[in-house]
Amino acid sequence: MREYRLFNSILVITAFVLVGAVFSVAEADTEVNCLICHKHRGLSRIDEQGKFRLYYINNEMFESGPHRRNKCHDCHSDKDRFPHDPTVKVDCTQQCHIVEPSGQAKFSHKPIADTLSKSVHGKFDADGNPKKYQEDYPGCKDCHDQPLYRPVSVYKGETKDGVSKRSIGRCRSCHRTGYFAEDFYDHVTSRLRRGRFPMETINVCAKCHQNQEFLKRHELDDAVTTYKETFHGKLIALGSERTADCLDCHVVEGENTHLIESKLVPTSATNKANIGNTCRNSDCHVNASAELSSFQVHVTYERDKYPMQFYMLIFFKALMAIILYFFLALIFFELLRRLFPKFSFIKEKKTSDDTDFEPLSDDADK
């Protein structure tokens, strides 16, 4: 640890000298200023907890991401001097310098954070008391690793990935200044499909819901592993984007995806009263009856919780074992028998009622 700290100090001092040589004013205010250092791929340190921290910003990725119109300082508002003060965590709910076009108010993620706090993932219970193991409950960045835009183009009746110049041409004919047309196009079209590939959504949930220690602490079943056993999970693993991922069943149709509620809450998508309609939502099992929802998605094969599945599994495994072991043993001994075709503990002789039988002899082998 001591060596790391030493290395760390040397790194910071080197960076300071380098920057100091170029700028006399030590302020990271504009994009250019930040990237002077943060464009370097190796910019990193081991922090006080011994964790490896990477400070490199890939500008190309940033420029194609959803936050590209924000300045560094919009989010990292505590960074007003160099060398930086000890970092304050970015607060996603603060107002940023972007004006939300429909209401002209400064944009903030606060309403989303409010929704999240009302959901099963909120850090406080209904009475406002902190939940047990509060630190396990997710904040924005636990799920959002800044997905890039995934724009789509529809042109001549065909939907393709990416931006079609012909599609965006219609926007550009009026919105000529700056990157407004491109930004708006990306913003809108990337929302025509889900922000993430279904597999990414599942992996996000898996961070906690497949983490065995976490599951034990919160007395939960392994929702992700059990989901992956279903046809929904399997098709998505094979590249389908058309079957249900976690959010499709756990968010009420048309509701904010951040409002995932426990199935015990009456408004929850998975509550007994609503789950029938959740399966039958407009994009999925439209023709099904509400009874379809008695299908059990998160089956753990525990005897007490899922007796039917448990006993069926035992039956089929036993059947398979009996049949296959019987025949595999038969094949094994049959091949072994061929090695010594003439040997036998008991030699049977020809009997009178057995006229056409001749035991294996040297003659018979020729």
Binding site: L235, L238, H285, Q296, F316, L324, F333, E334, R338, S344
Partner: protein
Amino acid sequence: MMLINSGDKTMSKYDPIVMKDGKRYFYRFSAHQRIQHVVLFSSVLVLAVTGFPLRHVEEAWARPLYDFMGGPEIAPMIHRIAGSVLLVLFVYHTIYWIVGFIRNDLGKLKQENRLTVGSGIKAFFTQEMVPNMKDFRDIIHLWKYLLYFTNRPPRHERMSWREKFDYFAPYWGIPILGPAGAILWWRDEVSHVLPGWILNAAYIMHTDEALLAILFLFFVHWYNVHYAPEKFPAAKVWLTGYLTEDEMIHEHYAHYVQVMIEAGLEDEIKPQHFGGEHYEW
């Protein structure tokens, strides 16, 4: 898997023994039965390559194989078509058997004025695919032979107990796999009649029975017709409909003796052996 029909025995347009290049070949399957077998194994293989990538999603081969079979959009369609073909074949074969049974076995009894409920039932239970006490004796006999407690291998009739097992494997497999598959296919419609948890049951039935079927085919049936030293690389009876004399002696000695006697070739009956000889191709 063997497709057996006793009707072809009596009504056969096939010679029981055919000589070719100085060798004897023994009739086993009609062209009709061979075509049914081709349809059966083609549809089963297609079902396997479009189904098992889903069952074993986590394996490295799953995604490439599934993509090769058309991916999540096309492969399920192919799977359902092949499944429908297999179900149709199942029904067709059942009708084929019933017609053969009525026309040949019951028809013969009627001609001889011996058709009663009792003789009809007896005719049913002496159908060559129906297991009988000799099969159980043969199993014990075989184990005695394999464990070197006798030098005399069992002598099977036209259908040995292994072939009967092979035959009834799809006959119990398809009624489990087929309806379960249909329920999973028509899940939305089925939900109006049956509760949703039936899909949980159908899912286990479909995947676990499929694994049993495929493992049985791959290890046991393919051993019988591909891997066994005297069969390798492949038996030909599914193409020609005829067994070689060595195969007859090895697998159906009782039947071999009977056919040879019926053909008036008592003097040329060869002694029994068990896989001791290599067959010529």
